[in-house]
Amino acid sequence: MISFETLYAAAPALTAHAPVLMVAGPLIAACVAALSPTARTSWMISVTGSMFAAWMALAITGEVARHGAVDYYIGGFAPPLGIAFYIDGLGAMMALLVSSAGVMASIYSGHSLAAEVRAEKHTHVQAAFLLCQAGLLGLVSTGDAFNAFVFLEVSSIGAYALVAIGEKRDRRALPAAFNYLIMGTIGATLYVIGIGFLYAATGTLNMADLSARLATLGDSSVVQAGFAFIVVGLGIKAAMFPLHGWLPGAYSFGPSLIVIFLAATATKTSIYLMARFIFDVFPDGAAFGRNFIAWVLAPLAATAAIVCSIQATFEREIRRILAFSSVAQVGLILLGLSLATILGASAGLFYLMAHALMKMTLFMAVGGLAISLPARRLDDFAGVARDAPWSATAFAAGALSLAGAPLTLGFLAKWRLLEAALNAGQIWIAATVAIASLLTLLYVGRMLEAIFFRSAPAGAPRAVEAPVGVLAPVLVLAGLNIWFGLDASLPEQLAGAGAKALLAGAP
């Protein structure tokens, strides 16, 4: 049993500044990476910057577990005049998730990038990756609604460019990135229009202040429109069904570095922000909020879980299978949150972390194989387990976790979701989770069957085991899928604290 209170305590001076250092660290590292002379140095800077951010995130998580939510007034101006960071249990959980995903992706990129992108571009690729990371970390730690928009943009613009450079391998990366750019920009624009309406109605941008002032306003058309714009805008960013059109392309054609990072974090941080608005910023029990959860969010999430699982079953390319599966799993996360109970929210957040871990494992393993095997279709991966046993094993661990096999993290995550749905008396949500799990079993079975039990056709290109630098992070993540399946106290604590913070009322 590990407890965050005792895990790590940073020096007080460092803890005091940790929230902003966590964001400024990768941001500064991005500039240094862009200035660095060679691909190798930029990779080292990227790893260092990510590790620094993770260190700060760890310090914050410990601090939040010990003393409750952390505030940081940037520029020394108290809110609502200035921008303030506000990190509670939920923010700490997200920060830890994003920064650890960043560390894993940056270590992994040392080898994978060389196969996918020309060496002269590496310094800029790492810079864009670090900017993306800084943006997501800022997004989960800020307590200011407009500042969140700025960070949403910082992270997205880095991500668009990174998806587009997948074109060296497959020209289809270009339309995919363009699609992602347009959809993402529309989402961000709708969000900022919504913030504009909220500002017109309340005169403030600080989330806590917004929440206090909205509670006194009652129903007004401006607030309702603001709510609608914000949830639709963030819904696009979170790949909420049916606004997920950008995701399969972006996840299929981007280089591994960004795909594994996006798969673990991008939609999750938008879900985080949406949950913040629905549960914290907008007044508790406002009619439109409740109606939205009951009549829009939950049904769409359920549809995503079923429909996209079926789509994943019929896809031929391995990365597209995983991408559609991601949209389906986003549906399951949102279903958990839509229960709006402590148990439901904590199950949703637990699922969010579990999904981040397993999708990262899967995309990493596929990316590792793709270094030597420039293939996309599932059939091309037939019999890969014989050539690259370690990568295949890691893939299997992630896939079993995704399918919810016992003794894996995925099993616990699904179990808790079912439990929470039954506890809240929502039988149909429990049924949806069960059906989606069965469908997951189908496409996971298809992938495992091809990789392990089919033999490669004669004369087909053979895979080579991924290099150690790639294999090490993959195996660590695969191991975590099993470890947390046996002892889930760590993610459980984080999810529990996050759910409590989310549903405690004002942010």
Binding site: C31, L35, L131, V154, A200, T202, A225, G226
Partner: protein, 358 residues
């Protein structure tokens, strides 16, 4: 001639006229099949909205819209259509159904919300009464910058501005990744001999370029006092260099201002901005708290008369902080605009064909 009863109504009439113009231009953009015409119309759209923003008394925003929307983005788009066909096919009506529905939905929602908005300029509206009013009251005391917009932009919400500078940096990186390393022609100036018909252009450009650069610096340092600042100045500075490239040829410009250097400057700008934040932190303040920009021991050494008005002497941390971060913004914006221009400018169809063939 209709006599207008008050100045407010004059504003209203101008506002309606400008909005009608926007509507007409937007309609024309949707209808036209020529990309060139669409780009010019976009430029007009930006210019009209800049005028409209001036009418709304948002001079800073209007300035930015004019230089970026009407100025640089037009140049970039013109560069981009060199690589494509100049016309687009007319889409079938089926392709228009979904976008039309989305537009109708968004428009309907906007109209629905507008009904509940407070009157424009109402001093009692939340936007003017709460934080907005607090800025007006606190900024002269806390920041000392005469232009409240700058005080909000650079001090109170300086972190947002850092984020926006990072967005611009990211956009520059994106363009550099896509186009910056690719095949590039190094085109010669339009005609190489003296006495050709470009000579007027060249002589006037030689006069204009230093003046434009000087104006950029004016806008940069004037940001404390009135409309202006790093964003606008950066774009104007880039425009001076782009003008050089258009008239004297890309090759000469790239020799004077190499793309690699430009990319580094973009990173240095953000680094400077974030570095100011870290310096404040090292001196015991919060990130970007310019009051702590200089260590107290150093501050004591500086004689008060050096800073002009002794009453505001204690604001000089804020003053220099704003100057430094605006410099960072200038560097990043100018360098990014140039990176984008370089990315498009040298990338001719011939150069791409050559690379494919090779």
């Amino acid at each position: 001639m209709i006599a207008l009863p008050s100045s407010l109504n004059a504003n209203l009439v101008i506002g309606i006229a400008l909005l009608v113009m926007l509507l007409v231009v937007a309609g024309a953009i949707v209808r036209t099949r020529s990309l060139l015409a669409a780009i010019i119309l976009f430029s007009i759209y930006s210019l009209v909205s800049a005028v409209w923003l001036v009418v709304m008394d948002a001079a800073d925003v209007a300035f930015t819209e004019a230089v970026i929307g009407a100025g640089v983005s037009t140049i970039v788009l013109l560069g981009a259509i060199l690589l494509t066909r100049g016309e687009v096919e007319k889409p079938g009506w089926r392709a228009l159904v979904a976008p039309a529905l989305v537009c109708a939905g968004v428009g309907g929602l906007l109209i629905y919300a507008a009904a509940g908005l407070p009157a424009l300029g109402d001093p009692a509206s939340p936007a003017n009464a709460h934080v907005g009013r607090a800025y007006l009251e606190a900024a002269p005391k806390e920041i000392g910058a005469p232009n409240i917009v700058t005080a909000v932009l650079a001090s109170y919400r300086g972190f947002d501005t850092l984020g926006e500078t990072a967005v611009i940096f990211a956009a520059g990186i994106g363009v550099a990744l896509m186009l910056g390393f690719g095949p590039h022609a190094s085109p010669l100036p339009p005609a190489a001999t003296i006495g050709d018909h470009h000579v007027v252009l060249r002589v006037s450009a030689k006069f204009l370029i230093p003046l434009i650069a000087l104006f950029a610096l004016y806008v940069q340092f004037h940001g404390d006092l009135g409309a202006g600042g790093g964003f606008q100045a950066g774009v104007i500075m880039a425009a001076a260099i782009i003008l050089h490239a258009l008239v004297f040829g890309l090759r000469d410009t790239m020799m004077a201002v190499p793309p690699r250097l430009v990319r580094s400057i973009a990173a240095l700008g953000v680094l400077l901005y974030a570095g100011v934040g870290v310096a404040c932190m090292l001196n015991g303040g919060a990130f970007l708290d310019y009051d702590y920009l200089f260590p107290p021991a150093f501050e004591k050494q500086v004689p008060g008369w050096l800073l002009g008005d002794p009453e505001h002497a204690h604001h000089w941390g804020q003053h220099f902080g704003i100057l430094l971060i605006e410099l960072g913004v200038l560097l990043t914006v100018a360098a990014t605009m140039l990176t984008i221009f370089y990315g498009f400018a040298g990338r001719t169809v011939e150069a791409i064909r050559q690379e494919r063939g090779a």
